[in-house]
Symmetry: D2
Subunit: 334 residues, 4 copies
C-alpha cells in the first residue's frame, strides 16, 4: 500500500501516522518528493482500513498495490480452476450450457423442459424453487416441493441441478442439490456466504446489480476462505441509466475476471436483458467474449409462466440458439 | 394497468391476451386509436407480472397506473406515521438525531460516545455489533458482546439503541434492542424482511446502493404486510460513477418519499460520503431537504477506530454540528 | 400519449387541462376507472412537453405510446438502411471493419497502419486529426495536417476515411472526408448535428457516455430531419460504477437499436474498454451480438502513440483478430 | 505519478519503460518491495498519458499524486475567487440568487418575471434564448430576439443577465450578455470552452450529466488556461438509475469542489429534479450544503410555458422560498 501525504504536513502528525502503521505490523519506506512525501507500506496490508487512512487530514491519497483477495487471486493460482459436478466440468477450457425455467412449476413442466434443454446440448438444469421477488405479493416459488420436482427431473434426465438458496435456515433442504446458487441480491449476504463456505458443494455466485468486480471477488473470497474453493462466478447485468433493457450486461467482466481470478465465469443473458427476443444475441456475445458457460431461461409455455416469462425462450428457440453457441465457441476456443 | 398493443396485431393474438387477462380476474376496457389499441385493465393488478406482459410480441408497452405497494402508500394513509420508541417520536413533525460509533469496541468507548452525543442533542444511540464487511478479513464486530455493551450504554444514558441485524438466526439476541436496523446490503433479503415483519420492533430500513425508491418501498411493504407497520426509511447514498465521494447521497429521495409514503425518512450522511469533513455539510443539507432525522457516526478516537473511522466525527465536532442542524430545522419546520 | 389523472381531482382543473390539450390540436378520449381517470390523447403529440404535463398537480403520470422519432423509426422504414461509401456498404447484411490509429501522427504511421489493416480485411480507415481531450494540456491532434495525411493514406490504399469533426467552423476542411464522425461528447451538440444534416456525407454518430438509446435516436433524428439520411450509429461504452474498465460496453444496444431503427449499428470496443488486451474479446462479442461493423484502434507502435495507446492493437494482433471476427460473423449471419 | 510494476517483470522491459519516461523529462525514483517495484516519477507529469502507462503489460497500476489541473487548483490558489458582475459578487462568502424563466418567451413575460424575482431577492436574471432540446421538433428558443428581450428586462430591473451559448458562431450576439452559460451537454465542447477562455466575461459552467468532478475542473481549466479566470461552477444533477426524479442532484459536489478549487460553486435544483414541487427542498439543501448561489427557474405561467414548465416555480412560491433560503444561509455562514 502506498500512502501519499499532503504537501507541508507537520512532522509530529506524520510521525504519529507512521507509528500507528508500524503498530499494525508494517515496515514503512519513506520517499520524499519535491511536493509530496510518499510512504510505502511493506508487509501484510490486507487488514489495513484503506478508507480510514485515506480520510486522515494529512493524507492526500492511498493506493493498494496488492489486491485484498488471495484465495481467488490468479496471481497465486495461475492455473484455471475446473469445477466438477458429477462428470460435468466447468472452466479451464470446459464450456457448459445451463438451462431451465425461471421457476419450477410442475412435474410435467420441469421434466419436459429438462428433456428439451438436454437434447439441445445443456449439461446442467436450472430452476427456481425459492424465488426472490421485489414484491411480497408475487409468487415466490414452490419451495421444498420445487426442490422435490427438480430431483425428479434430475432422475429422469441425468442432468445435475442448480437452484438458488435465499435463507441460510433452508440449507438442509439443499443437501442433495448439485450446485447452490447465490442470487444477485444476496451477493453480500456475508453470513450466507460463510455458511456456504462450510459446505462441500459448488457455489454459483451471481454478481450483484451494483457491485464491482473487486466486490464480487471479495464475496468469492468469503466462501473460499471458509473452506470451499469451488466457486463459479456469474455476470448477469448491472444497474445503469439505460432505457429499454432491464439491466446492462457487462461482458467486459468476462475477460477482466479471467485475468484477475482462476475461477470459471459464466454469463446469464436472460436476467440481464429481461427480453427473450434479444437473449440469443447476448448469449452469443457472452460466448464470444470468452465465458466458460451460458445460463439461459427456457420455458415450454412462456406466456403462462408464473414468473419472468418475458425473458424465457421456448425449447425450439433454445435448440436453434445452442447450435450457434457451439459454433461461436469453436471459433474463440478452437 | 394500461397495455398498449402494437400497430396491426392479429385479432386472435389480441383475443388470446384479453382472455388470459380476464382469467386473472380483471375487466378489460378497450380503446382503439388511429395507430394503437390501448387496453385498460380494471381490478386488482397487484399480482400481474408487468414484465411478462410487456415482453409479449404483440405488446408495445405497459404502464402501471396504481403503485404496487399498499401498506406504505400515502394514498391510503394520508397521515404521517409517527414511530415511537420509548418516549422518542420520529416522523409527523418529530425530528430526531441518531448518533454513535460505527462499531461498538469497548464499554468505555460506547458509554463515552453515548454520553457525548446525548449532551449534543441526540435522542437515539447507534452502534454496530454485527458488521457487514466487504472483506472476510476485516473486523466484523463484537457480536453478542457488542449488544451487551450497547445495553450498558443505554442503561447509563437512557438512550434507546439501534443496531444492525445481519442474520435472521441472531434474532433472539436482539430481543431487547429498541430499533433493528436492516443494512443497505440486506434491503432485498426478503426472508429477513418477512421475519422482521413478525416482530413488534421498529425497523430502520436502509436503501440499497442500487435500489430505486419503488424497490425501497416494496421492501418496506414486505415488513408491513407481515404485520409490523413501524418502519423508518433511511437514505444513505447510491452508487454512481462519481469520483471523490464513496457514494452519492440522493437527497431528492427525501421529499419524493414523503410524497409516496407516510413513513418517516431519515438521512445517513456518514456512509453516503465516507468523508468526515463533509459530513456536516450533508447533514445540514439533509435537514434542509426535510428529513425526519439525521443519523451520524461519532467516535471519540477516529484514527484508532476499528472500522470506518474515516467517516466519523469527533464528539466536539458533532456538538458544533447539532446546533446548526437544529437551527436549520427551525427554518424548514418552524 | 396517455395521461393518468390523480384520484379525486377537481372537475374544473380537469376541464382546464383538457381544454389546453385540445388547443394543442389533440382529440381527448376520456376513460373513467374506479380509482383513476385516463386521458387518451389522439393526434400528433410529438410537440407536447411530456415533462410539463407530468408535473401538473392533478396528473399522476404520463406515457407516450408513440416514439417521438420518425425519420429513424423502423416502424415507418421496415427495410434496413444500407449506407454506401464508394463501393463499401454498411448495414442490411453488409458487415464492415473500420480500423486505424487513434491519432494521425505522421505519413509513415498512417500509411503503414492503413496498409496493414487493409491487408487484415478492414474496408474503412479511421484516424483522428481533431482530438477531443479532457485536459487542455494533452495533444489534441495534427488538425488540417492530419486530414492531409489521411488523404495520402487513402490515395495509397484506396480505403475511404472516417474522422471526427469537433467544431462546426471546421466543416469546410472536411469537404473530401468520406464519413464524418460525431464523437460521444458531441452527441448532443445540436447545432453541429443540424449542420451535418445539411451535408451529403454519411455521419458516424457515437452514443454519448450517459445517453439512452432514445436520446441517441433523437440525435440521429436531428441529422435526418435536416435532410441527411445517411447515419451510422455507434455503441462505444457508457459510464457506470465499474472498476477495471474505463466504460461499460452496452452490447444489448445492438439488437435493441436494430429493433427500433433501420440504421446500421457498429461497435467500438477500443474506447469502451480502454484496454488493448480485452479488445479482441469485446470485438468478437460485438460481432456475435449482431453489429453491422466493428471499429478498432490499431497502431504500429502503441507504447509511443501520442494518444490512447493503451487501447490500441498492434497490426499483427489485429490480423489475428479479424480472422476470428469473420468466422463469428459467418455463424451469426450465414 | 507512481507506477507500480507487476511482480517478476523482465529487467529489459523495465529499463525500456524507465528510459521512455526519462525521455519525457522525468526523474525516476525506484523502490523495490518484496512483491512489487514502485517507480516514483518526479517532475511535471501533466503531459504523461496515465492510461497509456497503465495499459502496458508490465505495469500493475498507476496513480497520480498531483492533480492534472493547475489554474483552478486550490492548492495553488488558497483564497476563494470572487467573481464580480457589475456590483454583484459571487463566491468568497458572497451568496447570490439567480432566477428567471427557462425560456424567454415575450417582453411581458421576461420583464414581469425579472421584477418578481428581483423583489424576492434575486440578484441575477436567467433566461434561455438558445435552448438545447433533445428533440429537433421541440421549441429551441427565440434566439437573437430572446437576447434582445433579456436586454430589455435588464434595463427595466437593473439585474445582470446570464444566458446559454450553444454555438461558438453566435458569440458576437452575446457581446453584452453579463454571464455566458455553458450547458451540461456542452461541458466537454472543448472548442467552445477555449473560445470562451478568450473572452472577458464570467462563464457559468454546468457539470455534464455523466461527468466527474475532475472532468468538470478540467473543463474549467480549458477556459482559465486560455486566459479567462472568471469561472463559476454549477452542479445540476447527474444521471443515475433513479426513478421519480429526472436526475440525481449530487450535493456532496459542493463541499468537495470547495476543497479542490477556489472557484465559486452554485446549485441548480430545477434541472436536477425536473419537479417544481420538490425544488424548494433541494434549493434549501443546496444552500445548507454550502453553495455560493442557487439558480432557480421561475415562470409566471408554468402551465403554458413553452419549455420545462414542470420544473418552474411561480413567483409567489419563489418569494416564499427565498426567505427560507436566506434564513438557512444565515445558519451555515453566519
Amino acid at each position: 500500500m502506498i500512502v501519499v501525504l499532503k504537501h507541508g504536513v507537520q512532522r509530529d502528525k506524520r510521525e504519529q501516522l507512521i507509528h500507528w502503521l508500524e503498530k499494525q505490523g508494517l515496515r514503512i519506506h519513506i520517499s520524499e518528493g519535491e511536493y509530496q512525501t510518499v510512504l510505502g507500506l511493506i508487509g501484510d496490508t490486507t487488514h489495513i482500513d484503506m478508507d480510514l487512512v485515506d480520510s486522515l487530514e494529512i493524507v492526500d491519497s492511498v493506493k493498494r498495490v496488492t489486491e485484498p483477495f488471495k484465495c481467488c487471486n490468479r496471481k497465486f493460482h495461475p492455473e484455471d480452476m475446473v469445477v466438477e459436478v458429477g462428470d460435468v466440468k466447468i472452466g479451464g477450457g470446459h464450456f457448459v450450457l445451463i438451462a431451465g425455467p425461471c421457476s419450477v412449476e410442475s412435474e410435467e413442466q420441469i421434466v419436459t423442459v429438462a428433456a428439451a434443454v438436454k437434447a439441445a446440448g445443456a449439461k446442467i438444469l436450472r430452476g427456481g424453487a425459492f424465488k426472490p421477488r421485489t414484491s411480497p405479493y408475487d409468487f415466490s416459488g414452490l419451495k421444498a416441493t420445487g426442490l422435490e420436482l427438480l430431483r425428479i427431473a434430475r432422475k429422469e434426465t441425468g442432468l445435475p441441478i442448480v437452484t438458488e438458496l435465499m435463507d441460510v435456515r433452508d440449507l438442509e433442504l439443499f443437501a442433495d442439490v448439485d450446485i447452490i446458487q447465490v442470487g444477485a441480491r444476496n451477493m453480500q449476504n456475508f453470513d450466507l456466504l460463510r455458511e456456504l463456505g462450510r459446505t462441500d458443494k459448488p457455489i454459483l455466485l451471481k454478481r450483484g446489480l451494483a457491485n464491482t468486480l473487486k466486490e464480487l471477488l471479495m464475496s468469492a473470497e468469503y466462501i473460499m476462505s471458509s473452506g470451499n474453493e469451488r466457486v463459479i462466478l456469474c455476470e448477469r447485468g448491472i444497474r445503469t441509466f439505460t432505457d429499454y433493457t432491464r439491466n446492462t450486461l457487462d461482458l467486459s467482466a468476462v475477460p477482466m475476471l479471467h485475468e484477475l481470478t482462476h475461477l470459471p465465469v459464466i454469463v446469464d443473458p436472460s436476467h440481464a436483458t429481461g427480453i427473450a427476443r434479444i437473449v440469443p444475441n447476448m448469449a452469443l456475445a457472452g460466448t464470444a467474449a470468452g465465458a466458460d458457460g451460458i445460463m439461459i431461461e427456457v420455458h415450454n409455455d412462456p406466456i403462462n409462466a408464473l414468473c419472468d416469462g418475458a425473458q424465457s425462450l421456448r425449447p425450439e428457440e433454445y435448440a436453434a440458439l445452442t447450435e450457434k453457441i457451439f459454433a461461436v465457441r469453436k471459433v474463440v476456443a478452437p
